[in-house]
Symmetry: C2
């Protein structure tokens, strides 16, 4: 990888970061408008300064998780929604139930397998259900 390619990689990473902040900001602004709130109203309710909220919406600043939490609460949406958009949290997979079972910290491997199997049996009894997912499908 020569210098030109390294330069391109860096530029790409930088603009990707900015895009993420812009998306988050746009999303917050959209939610705010959907809630019929002015920027000042939302900032008051979230307990943050209105210039700062403005900067966040325009993607100029990267707010901490705490600020995101405050905004989410004021918007009456889940904080996780904002965390996901901010890149703090991963997006849940499609096969939530199996995924949740497999990641449960309190289940043994044997119990996990049993639950997955029971779950798949139940799916087969439901005409509207998708094709039964396997453990392999989930772990990829």
């Amino acid at each position: 990888m020569d210098k030109k390619q390294i330069g391109e990689k860096v530029d790409q990473a930088a603009s990707t970061g900015r895009m993420k902040l812009g998306e988050l900001g746009s999303f917050i602004r959209d939610q705010r408008k959907a809630a019929r709130l002015s920027l000042r109203k939302l900032s008051d309710q979230a307990g943050i300064s209105n210039p700062y909220l403005s900067q966040i919406e325009r993607g100029l600043r990267k707010p901490s998780a705490e600020i995101l939490q405050s905004i989410a609460k004021a918007l009456q949406i889940s904080a996780e929604t904002l965390y996901i958009r901010a890149g703090i949290l991963d997006e849940r997979r499609d096969s939530d139930t199996i995924s949740a079972i497999l990641q449960d910290p309190y289940l043994s491997e044997a119990h996990k397998r049993s639950l997955v199997e029971i779950y798949n049996n139940y799916l087969q009894l439901s005409a509207e259900a998708p094709k039964a997912a396997t453990v392999k499908d989930v772990t990829g």
Copy 2:
């Protein structure tokens, strides 16, 4: 609420915050030691400076979600674990499995109830599991 009570409230909140950072730091140190890693080794693997990791472990600094993510990855634990301890994420994610079962669009109510019951039975067979969660607990 008179001034004395307000003062006590503020003091309590402040010390609660400090306790939270100390808990997080202790947890990270415990995990590090369980993994038989030196502070310098973990900081290298996490890509953060060792004095900073030391300060985090001693509860002197409040790391960003990104730093927590790096530490979690180096410790091979989920970032969510650290987020919860840092107060970024609610512990209600602990009942992910039940929550996922209940929200699964392809399960009938009867099947949901059955799966939850089986899950709770498995929890009771595990000494380390938390107290069995009920459907009511999850839905709030």
